[in-house]
Symmetry: none
């Protein structure tokens, strides 16, 4: 898709805003037969649906539930099946670690092993974050030949391991056997280029075990999701856009940074994010603005809270419209239906409104109504070409 | 797609008509919120929509605005991203030059250069077509070793250069630097097979400069869009159809000839085209009938004229139905919304009516209504298999 688009890009001074509601899509609650979007009072979103072209976005493939990485890469115009972002990288981005090209990142857990070295608790009884911080300080004292070692606490039993140095292939097996009563596995290199990495990681684990010997219940570690930053085409060059990301949560800032967007400093609330949007309006062509509350409520299985989050969001829509973006897009990175209390595979409503977005029978921004839109059920990675066209930033294909 | 279809083709005596309205799709006019199709009085097209299966055709990909080449190749069942038709070829087809396999074609401009040879006007002040004709006569006197040279006037400053001979690779850089104040560039071969072509073209340019030295303001030429006829599977063999093209405009006749259709002599109007259709009804299985007025009005940004063009077309529909085609298809090669005054990326309404085309909720032939059709939003290259099935000309896949 990018190979097709990039040569067609032409300059323009049009402005594009993507409002991404995390976990936007939902499902009907059995009691009412209505989804969160169908229940919420969201007059502005319904009006936008009436004015623009609607459809449903499928981020990966039918039946596939996207994680935050693939979900956002799709919205940014990348094929999430081609450009994978591993868990180690996502975890590092999520704590705003300054991950660099070539760094090898892994997700770590503190765990408990018995006297024989067999795992008795894969999460070390979910130790406190405070203890996690102290134990990662111990692990930071580990030195490995030829590389820098970073160990960063995340939350409870979770931490991030990053190795920095030359020649760190990232194709490694995991140490977590995923069952109790067995010892952690040694890491194996899955390709030739990762042999040095495997040796270094195994040396790290050996030293970690020694340093944690007296730290019961967190007396051992498990490592998985080894990965390096993917080699993604840079979004600003691929689409010819000065692109800014406005997101209160580190994970989404990290994902935007991976594709080369400028990540703007902002506050903790969506209102703060919109202040940031206004302040930088003249300096960018494209704004990715992230709204987290919908996902949080969905993950909690709290239908009413998700309805309320949608209603709070809806009230902000006129503030964005007041900036008069040439193309306004509202969608999300995946569904998080409250009845599922988790990410879902269901395609996610999308509306694209511009002067040229076209006629559409849809007048409500709901899963059911958007299914009848002119955009159809489309792969999320097709959104950016469509948005670029609406911004009059693509020339004709073929004479 | 063709690899799948061709082995399934079975003979039948059913007849297929594709009525292709150039630039069919439109957009709502802000004053009324209605598109050209929604504004026009087109009772016959609406009736057809009620009788057949409807949908929207996407010719290249979401957000991609098709040129006439990709737009028509899609309607003819070819993947427009796989089979590219270059500008030189389209330009030659557009003047009905008898382009043959292996010919190398380029689009030429007369331009103005100063005493230092730097370009001062890339279009030579848009000289008259009459002067263009006289200057191409000068260029025709250029002889090159081992090849025939054809120089054909097009319009104003534009001409077509065709070299005919063995071993003429077509992967060449362009001579137009796209800026003023610099001299035309020498052509470079972009692959090994095009080195001979590059030498010949550069020799042509050198001689052209000498022959035009006193022809101020048209004292030099620029060449671009070098290409040869693509190696397309032939439509009659791929689909087992005796296929005829009826089009008043040279470009569309040329595109039909590229895929191996018989191009029928016809008059200048759509009424003439329908006379031709009736005359040849018994001799062919498939008719591609082209209607140009919708595109012209759209390109002019003339909403009312496009509405009028649709209404004129609608009045002809019963004449086509009177021939009792087994499968009648109405669609277009791309959108040309009047509000855009140019080709657009919006998917284009399509109706397929046959005894077996199936039930459909759509009762109006508009962008909005067709979005809810059973055909969905589908790649244009999927139309031909569907049409073949409706004509009972495809056997079962797998036992």
């Amino acid at each position: 898709m990018l190979d097709l688009i990039t040569p067609l890009v032409v300059p323009n001074d049009t402005k594009i805003v993507l409002l991404s509601l995390d976990g936007l899509g939902g499902l009907p609650r059995p009691e009412t037969g209505k989804s969160e979007l169908e229940t919420a009072r969201i007059p502005n979103l319904h009006r936008l649906a009436g004015e623009g072209a609607c459809g449903l976005l499928r981020h990966v493939a039918p039946g596939i539930t996207p994680g935050s990485g693939p979900g956002h890469l799709g919205l940014f115009g990348y094929d999430p099946q081609r450009y994978l972002v591993g868990r180690g990288v996502l975890e590092a981005l999520g704590i705003e670690f300054d991950l660099r090209a070539g760094d090898l990142a892994a997700r770590g857990n503190f765990c408990t092993v018995d006297a024989q070295g067999n795992i008795t608790d894969r999460r070390a009884g979910r130790i406190s974050t405070e203890l996690c911080v102290r134990l990662t300080e111990r692990l930071r004292t580990i030195a490995l030949p030829g590389v820098e070692v970073f160990v960063e606490p995340v939350k409870e039993h979770r931490f991030v391991l990053v190795l920095r140095g030359p020649g760190l292939g990232g194709r490694l097996s995991e140490t977590d056997p995923q069952v109790l009563g067995k010892p952690p596995l040694a890491v194996r290199a899955l390709d030739e280029a990762s042999k040095n990495s495997a040796d270094l990681v195994n040396a790290f684990v050996t030293q970690a075990k020694a340093r944690l010997a007296d730290a019961m219940p967190a007396n051992m570690i498990l490592l998985r999701g080894f990965d390096s930053l993917p080699h993604l085409p840079r979004f600003p060059e691929a689409f010819g856009l000065r692109a800014a990301a406005i997101a209160a949560y580190p994970m989404y800032r990290g994902l935007a940074r991976v594709v080369g967007m400028d990540v703007l400093a902002t506050g903790a609330t969506f209102a703060d994010e919109l202040v940031t949007l206004r302040e930088h309006w003249q300096s960018y062509d494209y704004f990715f603005v992230h709204y987290k509350d919908t996902d949080k409520a969905g993950e909690d299985g709290d239908f009413e809270a998700k309805v309320a989050a949608l209603e709070r969001f809806d009230a902000f829509v006129p503030d964005v419209e007041a900036l008069r973006p040439d193309v306004l897009v509202v969608s999300g990175d995946h569904a998080t239906p409250s009845v599922l209390a988790a990410h879902g595979w269901q395609p996610v409503p999308v509306v694209v409104r511009s002067r040229y977005s076209g006629a559409d029978p849809v007048t409500a921004f709901t899963e059911r109504a958007c299914a009848a839109g002119t955009l159809g059920v489309m792969p999320a990675q097709h959104l950016m070409p469509l948005v670029m066209a609406n911004a009059l930033r693509l020339t004709k294909y073929g004479a």
